[in-house]
Symmetry: C2
Subunit: 237 residues, 2 copies
Amino acid sequence: MEHDQNMPRRPQVLAFDVFGTVVDWYSTVRREVEALGRGLDADAVASAWRAGYPVAMERVRSGELGWTRIDDLHRMILDDVLEKADCALDEATRVELNRVWHRLDPWPDSPGGLARLRRGFHICTLSNGNLSLLAEMAKHASLPWDLILSAENFRHYKPDPQTYLGVADVFDVDPAQVMMVAAHKNDLASARACGLMTAFIRRPAEFGPNRPNDTSDDPVADFNADDIHQLATMLGC
Amino acid sequence: MEHDQNMPRRPQVLAFDVFGTVVDWYSTVRREVEALGRGLDADAVASAWRAGYPVAMERVRSGELGWTRIDDLHRMILDDVLEKADCALDEATRVELNRVWHRLDPWPDSPGGLARLRRGFHICTLSNGNLSLLAEMAKHASLPWDLILSAENFRHYKPDPQTYLGVADVFDVDPAQVMMVAAHKNDLASARACGLMTAFIRRPAEFGPNRPNDTSDDPVADFNADDIHQLATMLGC
């Protein structure tokens, strides 16, 4: 049967970006930094910690650093943020705080929306977070992944094509049968360049109340949705 | 506090062998071969198919074959078994039958026993099955893994040490904090040689009713259990 140009193709695998798309890193990190009570500006620490992340990954992608997991990159950034804030935290507190990324809270729609999508598709992560981070997060946040896939599987960070194409390879399907789901248009653009379908999820509060996020439609995405429940409805789940 | 020599150490991660330990490959494969109704001896096909598996993996481990997933090894063995049985199956039927390994039924205690253990430990697979096979099986058989790890993660098949040590590396723990759980003493011996704790699960029917399986205690394992529920009880879950 010929493909109907008016109907979107139907993927077999949905690959989800995680930080910001499925879980609310800003609120969780801010809350834990506030709870420390060391006079830190929790909003500023959360933002600076996250802002250091693409910079640190770029050092790995460029070859300046050998393969380094996000847990270790997060720790390097944290130490830098604390030094700039002139805050002396002991080692045990740093270790514990660094693990906040393993216990991020989900957006309210994520557990239920994913459970719906799981009935119709293979649902997996495609995150730059390391495997144990994603596994602990899934347990904490009740995220019912069929499979946790990470940059760690491919030893390449997004947006390297090895990550997007790696998902198709693992599931033994064509790239066009995988749909990348993300709240970040650059992630979707890189996935699309590899032949994947794409779905944009609007997350206006990703960066906190003082930093409005771009939630305009992605005009070239196959789907634009307000949250994961709405995506499930669009996909007939 | 000093370690009490009379108390077993407590692992943080339980890594499960899957085929035979968690799922009943024999009954499922036999049933599907019988359902084909091509005059095949279903008991013999199931046994020969499985018996070809360590042989095929050894071709990969020795370097004779490059990295090859179990899905593809299973297909090579199936073609060989069918040829020897003088059975002409069309391509579509072979593809579908080969995927029986993705939909193996669990032993009756597996879903509930794993759900109990998941409350106290990180539970993961360490199987030679490929990632998509294990993901589909987990969905079919309701196996609540925290993380699916496979030989495919490490590009080494068990019993290569890279697999056992790879689990500890992924979870960033010492090998002694990982316990391998398996119905096969050779798997446990290889894990133990890498410093892992070990638990032996008795599966008397793994190879079918006509091929009694060794269920004597493993004298050097940390635990010997009749099934996964009993292991959960032994571990206080």
